[in-house]
Symmetry: C2
Subunit: 314 residues, 2 copies
């Protein structure tokens, strides 16, 4: 497996610039006071498709040679990556097939359709889902774009941290949520532009497979536990893991109550709609305060796609 490096993140930034937003960086004197740190929030909720996933998908789709691209792309996802691949394929004008569970949120199904992608239904069972993708690949010759364990996806996700470090070069720490590890690995690569920065991943304690994998040096399978940050219920792969293992300083965990409180705090005080996964590193600011006290901390607010009819605090 080829492993991306910083140069691949820099190339991704050039490749995807026409298709993504350079998202704003927010500060909040109130949250700074509460945490005893100076925090810079990279607001990827204002990204295309409402999440950083647009970066990796655009990089993967636009990196394809013409002949491969013509056969289309495919993926499996019930979340932001599905929309992102549909969005990127629509921009390039190539076919996209997304394998989704029937119980995916209707608003996400509609978004994938609106971008012009074909949906193939498969239940929530991971094995059935993978078989469905394999059938699509065999039938169409499409290229598979994994949600996280993919060379170009990782390089693309790293462009968010690259922009943040260009805007705020003198950070001490950079926090990103970790599920499959695409964002965290890309962030770690981008952080080589600022050698003083320590990159730390944050994971819900309920699904702490990445934290255990990092500690023990081997990839653990995902746990089956529920978490409000359901976008992070995936596991590391053979591309993300070596990057994270060698370039990330630590992976810390946070509680479900902490995630919900952090999400609500950002909505209430910063007026930004973030999804539970994006609140995971914010929760770490409060649950591990000794790690950041007096420091300059960058936080990737990964996305803002939420079902507004079902808020976790109501």
């Amino acid at each position: 497996m080829a492993i991306p490096v910083l140069a691949d993140v820099l190339a991704a930034a050039q490749r995807i610039a026409p298709y993504i937003h350079r998202t704003p960086v927010f500060t909040s004197r109130i949250l700074d006071g509460m945490c005893g740190a100076t925090i810079f929030f990279k607001a990827e909720c204002f990204q295309k498709v409402g999440a950083f996933k647009a970066r990796g998908a655009c990089n993967a789709v636009f990196a394809l040679p013409e002949a491969q691209a013509a056969r289309g792309v495919a993926t499996h996802s019930s979340g932001n990556h599905a929309q992102a691949v549909a969005y990127a394929a629509g921009l390039r004008g190539i076919p996209a097939t997304v394998v989704m569970p029937e119980d995916a949120p209707p608003v996400k199904i509609a978004a994938v359709r609106d971008y012009g992608a074909r949906i193939v239904w498969a239940g929530a069972d991971p094995l059935a889902r993978e078989r469905a993708v394999e059938r699509v690949l065999a039938e169409t010759g499409a290229i598979f774009i994994h949600p996280s364990n993919d060379f170009h996806v990782i390089a693309g996700q790293g462009t968010a941290a690259l922009e943040l470090l260009a805007d705020v070069p003198d950070l001490d720490v950079l926090l990103a949520p970790v599920g499959g590890g695409g964002l965290l690995a890309g962030t770690a690569l981008a952080a080589e532009t600022a050698p003083q920065v320590r990159v730390i991943g944050v994971e819900p304690a309920a699904v702490d497979d990445a934290a255990r994998s990092f500690r023990d040096g081997r990839i653990y399978p995902p746990t089956d536990a529920p978490t409000v940050a359901d976008g992070l219920r995936t596991f590391l792969g053979n591309v993300t893991f070596p990057i994270i293992r060698t370039r990330v300083s630590d992976i810390v965990t946070v509680t479900e109550a902490g995630i919900i409180a952090a999400m609500r705090l950002v909505w209430e005080r910063m007026k930004i709609v973030i999804e539970p996964s994006a609140a995971v590193p914010v929760a770490a600011l409060f649950e591990h305060p000794d790690l950041w006290r007096g420091r300059r901390v960058g936080v990737i607010l990964s996305g803002g796609n939420v079902d507004l009819a079902r808020l976790p605090w109501v």
Copy 2:
């Protein structure tokens, strides 16, 4: 009564620059498509105290001569203006007294206290409230800062539109919500920097006193009806009205259902937490589409202070 002009808005912009945010302007291809217009949203929800009211209050507080300022300021408000006056007085280091109803939202009471203001309780009855303010003024010699019908408050509120027109000079139309008319009057003054711009106020149909006042050329008292945009349940005054009457092109009204749908749409698609009053001009985009089709429309998203435990669509 002295009536402010454009020069007063320009002076306000200089005076308050150290104390307020230059808020970002957002666009949304999705909302553009839904409305058939090109819309530029001035996101005052990211302003200090979460609303444009910080502008007018800072202008009024910092315009005071030293001797007057030393005696402090006072106002009555259960909403954003209370926080804004407390914020501005705290910055200048002068006493502030805010007359509030006992049933004001706890989060707003806490915010006013956190900024260091003194709270005097008076019920929701407007007469009792005014008597309470008069007692404060008599006892302390403080200067009264009206939430809308005030020379410097109007000039300060106009700085939001001034910034928007500096960023996007070629607008055709500028929409602002209207309650007491401070924001709308200030917006109309600022719009003289771009003579092609038509300024239109938007009001909930349930409390359409400003629309009727505009049409009939006389100030009507507020209606007692409930509206989800409760920040707009006030009425025009002898400073705001002449400006609005002469410089605003029209005042249109929107339904309660339209306000709630517009609020939810901005949260869902733009990931910005706006309060119901801020959704009022967004609702007009959908309820009066013929007015904006093909145009470049500026919208002031006035604020983002919402009780997250009580959302109108849940």
